[in-house]
Amino acid sequence: MLKHRLTPLQRAGILALIGIALLTASRFIGELRDYQGAQVAVYVIAISSITLLTGYSGQISLGHGAVMAIGGYGAALSFSLWHFPFVIALLFGTFVGTVAGFVLGVAAARLSGPYLAGTTLALAVGLPTIADQFKVLGGEQGLSFDIGDAPPWARKLGGSEFTQYKWFFWIAVIAALITLWAITNLLHSNYGRNWRAARNNAVAASLAGINVARGKILAFTVSSALASLAGALFGLLLGIVTPTAFPLSLSFAIVTGAVLAGVSNLAGSIVGAVVLVTIPEVSGALATHLGGSQKVTANLPGLVTSLLLILVVLFMPHGLRIRRFKGMKKLRRNT
């Protein structure tokens, strides 16, 4: 995965081209697809936070939905209460999430495997209940995070029928591309190498002078920054943040997406995100095709996701993409 040695600037160029292509393409697709595209972009960020944490640093989190909630609430609060511009609000949400992630990371660095999984799971269940305790967080009703229509300059660029969903798509895609660029650079840097070294063999890494604990804390912090940015964007897409918008299933969903992508494959996070967004639609269509009753429509998406997850873990544990290359390598070796 890290074979292509491009400079950060070259990477930026490539991603900018992709971005321009995507933003241009948004003119020609429908409202629903725009919204789904925005969802994919948000999931890409969320999944890459897990990829970075689990695939590169070897830590597990079942509570990143809660970190997303922190980001979402941070953004919505600063937007609705202090009337920050939405970009600043997104950054503020990310900042709050990063600080929280640092605190969690300090604790997480002491824990391993199931203990960390248990702690983050408890966080995912416990944190959303805070919102009920403070009036400023809006309780069950949540906080509004409605950024309204696109500003004039964007409408000038985007054409006459530049709807709110197209605007969301733009925001999410730009955020996702910037994020991917930043993480790729980070993973190619010293930090990324240290994380992988510590993941593969903590003892050897510390003998080589790598501060394993510090690396883990940093990885958790960066991962939380990504997750909270995703959470803030998630709230923006919904137009509101509520305690129920960030359920336990969201935490599980992004871990699922990361596994579908092959946990140590950043590009694969796009595959994972697309799968996460399309499963409900595909299985919904399937359910209506089967002439399904209430029972079928309600449970088919879960069934499909779970089956896919199990099959991937059992038969393609290194994700949907990497496995194929490994197979080819083996083929070459054998012939």
Partner: protein
């Protein structure tokens, strides 16, 4: 008031202990945190529900549900976990693969239940009253059903205690979790023992599901929060320790009960998180866990 809260805490703590015990049994035998535990338990509870609605007798359904729970546990190990441990051995995913796989299994079981029984909330009544005992003019919130919960959990815990402490099977279970390779060399069929561990865990989960469900409703997700509590309890106690599971469950149950009574019902899980954090910061492997620090 204090006594009432304590009694309720013991009642829910007993259930958490059972769930924690199920997790610890699986963890000790397979080094896997079985997230499908709540799915297995709820499936056996649905089977119990089905039997009750056919026979109209809770006391027939209870043992049958427990047996089904044990069978489900055994099947999950045979069909699923052994395949997983054969296929996924290395790479960054090896550590999280069991977590993901059991989460997938949980989703699978719950959506299959939804397909069969629907997602509606069902009543799974027990013949015991849910109304509190009355002493003179004072009615405590502790009901015969609560008493039954405590007794049933205590019985299961006692049976497990005796089996582990005094039987050959218990010795084999302890040996294979302590040092699987040496146990194998000593002539213990580790894979079979591991399977027995899974079926014990399934039975414990089934008991938890069958005795707690009459106090609320039955739905595919109805035992999820119980599982989370059980997991927190197991982690507090130290995942390797059976005693720890019981202690962790009781600590958490009583703690939750007092928070519910004196602070607020909505912060219980947050409090659980805080209790867990404090315990783990002092002892990163739980109260009764082995004192093994990180290597680096």
């Amino acid at each position: 008031m204090f006594i009432d809260t304590l009694l309720i805490g013991i009642s829910s703590g007993a259930i958490y202990s059972l769930m924690a015990l199920a997790l610890v049994l699986v963890w000790r035998s397979t080094r896997v945190v079985n997230f499908a535990q709540s799915g297995q338990a709820v499936l056996s509870t649905y089977i119990g529900y089905e039997i009750t609605s056919k026979t109209h007798n809770y006391w027939i359904s209870l043992p049958l549900a427990i047996i089904c729970g044990a069978l489900i546990g055994s099947l999950v190990d045979l069909l699923f976990m052994s395949l997983l441990s054969k296929r996924v051995k290395s790479g960054p995913i090896a550590e999280i693969a069991p977590v993901i796989a059991t989460l997938g299994l949980l989703g699978l079981i719950q959506s299959v239940i939804g397909l069969i029984w629907g997602n509606a909330f069902l009543q799974y009544p027990s013949p015991l009253s849910g109304k509190g005992f009355t002493f003179g003019s004072h009615t405590v919130p502790f009901s015969p059903q609560n008493l039954f919960i405590v007794l049933a959990s205590a019985t299961v815990l006692a049976i497990f205690g005796v089996v582990f402490r005094f039987t050959n099977l218990g010795l084999a279970l302890r040996a294979s979790s302590f040092a699987p390779e040496i146990a194998q060399l000593a002539g213990i069929r580790v894979s079979r023992v591991r399977n027995i561990g899974w079926s014990f865990a399934g039975a414990a989960g089934a008991v938890a599901g069958a005795v707690i469900t009459p106090t609320s409703t039955l739905s595919p997700n109805s035992l999820d929060l119980l599982f989370v509590s059980g997991f927190i309890a197991a982690v507090i106690g130290g995942l390797d320790s059976l005693v720890g599971a019981v202690v962790g469950g009781l600590v958490l149950g009583i703690g939750f009960s007092f928070i519910l009574q004196y602070i607020s019902s909505s912060v219980t899980f947050l409090a659980g998180f805080i209790i867990l954090m404090i315990v783990l910061l002092v002892r990163p492997r739980g109260i009764f866990g082995k004192r093994v620090g990180r290597n680096a």
